[in-house]
Symmetry: D2
Subunit: 245 residues, 4 copies
């Protein structure tokens, strides 16, 4: 089941879903007995989220397009005593792949929708679950020069609301994380230039870039029973950057 | 130029662009000397917008996928003494077409982006212009059962912000209309059932469905010099239905 | 009636209401046969709105706290052939006044609510009407150092939604204008310093401050029959400054 | 210090602040070594938040206007082995009190601002802190018939952004909780009538009212180091009720 899900669209960059069955809440291990599938999770925000979910008790499935990246991430987390396995996600047929990665909109939006639907039956069997989609503050206020990326991130805000509506009867909650400027390889184009970094920090209340770990706690929270009445919501982790009211 | 634009993506449902050169403002004919290209404009909201822009002084280019629909709309408006021409928009190559209409996301988002970029050079020659994208209130608060449509409408809210950012240096403003439930053929699935219509009206402040004409004035306004300092904004025409703050 | 209304709270800074009875729509004079009461209207945005409403056919009642300012504004607009009268709004009893001007929140929010309610019976007699509240882009994204002002402007976004809900059954629409940085005496503290002005313009898509006249058209539009299905909405006139999605 | 703070405005209904010094993070007791002041905390959402913060390691100061309510709440939580103390907040001078409780806007907005400023020096001494303001989903989409309440809740969304901006240099984060319809005594007017409750549930994705405990986890999270890069944000706990994008 999982395998199929990953084959379809699990390599989508910038998307992470967390799947779990509910169980008794445990303050130390709020995600005990849960299984979390985190896509694009071998570095940056995805890796930080994986580590945190594992620390909070979940068994985490690391996934990415490249075997060596998956192996490295799994080894690191196992070395920390965490319960993880890895899987390379690859799209079977070449034409499907072309279709899939054709555009950022496809990757970020359609793949997210597809893989979510793929894991839904498994969640239903377990009595419910939780999905956390990763959008971006650029979905509210565009980063200059990154049009298609920005638009795809806006679309994810809508996808969150739509999946929340659609999956509520199955006891599946769907929420969204919108990171601001977080210091990762992916975002380095935005902050490598010192002048640009300074300029960006001007608009932040907290005058520094965020760290991947600072995005991980809210994902764990959203997956836990503590968020049982929260669905369809987006939380911005942006150091107070202007976004919306 | 225009022809090329239409060939690319002008038949996109739910997208209307208005192009114009600035000139002295005239209260009676605020759109005098302007040319407006309105896509999907042979009935419903698109037709009402075309009529209004023509009444306000613009020369309007009606466009749609079917010759007979274009002919009928043009004849009607000419019969009212308005300045209009028609053009059938069709995608030249079959494979492009398939690609284009593959999904609602493609049609509503990519085609909108493509045709906008297609008309930009013409607008630049005229010293500037104005684009009005048609999203939907479903972009803020999803209509049940219409997931892909809803998500594409959310994406258009982001596209508006992105194009506004990108095209401001060329003196082109980009804004967005988000109709609520308007009584058209397209939306009939939502209100044909009396019980459903009643239920929907419950959440509106103005207890009736909107009329296509009630969407037209704001588009004319957004295209006029009166909106010279408005860009990147979305106006909801929804009878007070809940949307956002 | 009107007098009483003004005595209560009509001198509220940053609030303008427009009252009118519906009549046949006329493209040249969309506000013919309507009476508009504009508070705080002797200079800046309020004055530009008054002029525009009068140009569009309304009889405009200019109002402010100081007789000489009212006289000057009325004389100017009469000199342009427009139909205007003036009224000084002053709070009768000293204790009321103290209460009223006690805080920015009181002035901007309570006075707006009170004066709206005061004019409602008159609007009802005429079969309906339209109110336009003036908030600010600072209601979405705060101006540094202006906390109470910013919060009062956020509250006005909520007041707009509440009054729209409450007054819809009386055929009264309530909408809101949120100006960005407009070049007026009031906002001069924000742009007098050249460096500060440059810095602010950085975040705008249209790289200049707005003019009061650029806020006037949308108010006239919101008051006209063209906006018959628009209520509870806020339109930002901010040159593309980031605000909300 | 604390006493003074409470005397000023600590009895504000619908406001809860949490004050703490940072320390090493501990997964079991994420709020260890922190002191939390929770206003209006003797029942409903405030009480659930107090219990949760204490369970997560904070020493909690319960506060309310009535001695007997404070005593009861403190006794209950002490009986659970939690570290709590109580304080009655009362406004010393009668005229101040009258001023304070004059209107809902005063109580909900000004008192929140005042008491926050009152605890800031104490937070600064400890090297930083965290404030969580309690607004409501009614701040985004008004509850019918509750105008002043709704507007005050919208104002709190703005206050959150303003305090976040103002207090960031002092290492104090300010966030906001916007509960949807939660089953408490306070909200009983909205759900006591079965028909009304059913009607409200129609618009929720999760078809039931929320429980006070479901609002508590997010407050604990916002106060913990896990939220170190989150400020100025509002999280809706509303079972998927429509609010904003």
């Amino acid at each position: 089941m999982l395998k199929a899900g990953l084959r379809l669209g699990g390599c989508a960059r910038a998307w992470r879903s967390v799947r779990m069955a509910s169980s008794g809440v445990d303050r130390q291990k709020p995600l005990a007995n849960k299984v979390a599938l985190v896509t694009a999770s071998t570095d940056g925000i995805g890796f930080a989220i994986s580590r945190r979910l594992a620390q909070d008790g979940a068994h985490v499935v690391i996934s990415s397009r490249k075997q060596q990246n998956v192996d490295r991430a799994v080894a690191t987390l196992k070395g920390e005593g965490l319960s993880v396995t890895g899987t390379v996600c690859h799209v079977g047929k070449a034409e499907d792949r072309k279709q899939l990665v054709a555009t950022i909109l496809d990757i970020n939006v359609k793949a997210t929708a597809l893989i979510t639907k793929e894991v839904v039956p498994e969640m239903e069997k377990r009595g419910g679950g939780s999905v956390v989609i990763v959008s971006s503050i650029a979905g509210f206020s565009p980063f200059p020069g990154l049009g298609p990326y920005n638009v795809s991130k806006t679309a994810l805000l809508g996808l969150t609301k739509n999946l929340a509506l659609e999956l509520a009867p199955k006891n599946i909650r769907v929420n969204c994380l919108a990171p601001g400027l977080i210091k990762t390889n992916f975002s380095s184009v935005l902050w490598m230039d010192k002048a640009r970094e300074d300029n960006i920090k001007e608009s932040m209340r907290i005058r520094r870039l965020g760290k991947p770990e600072e995005c991980a706690g809210i994902v764990s929270f959203m997956c836990s029973e503590d968020a049982s009445y929260i669905t369809g919501e987006t939380v911005v982790v942006g150091g107070g950057s202007p976004s919306r009211l």
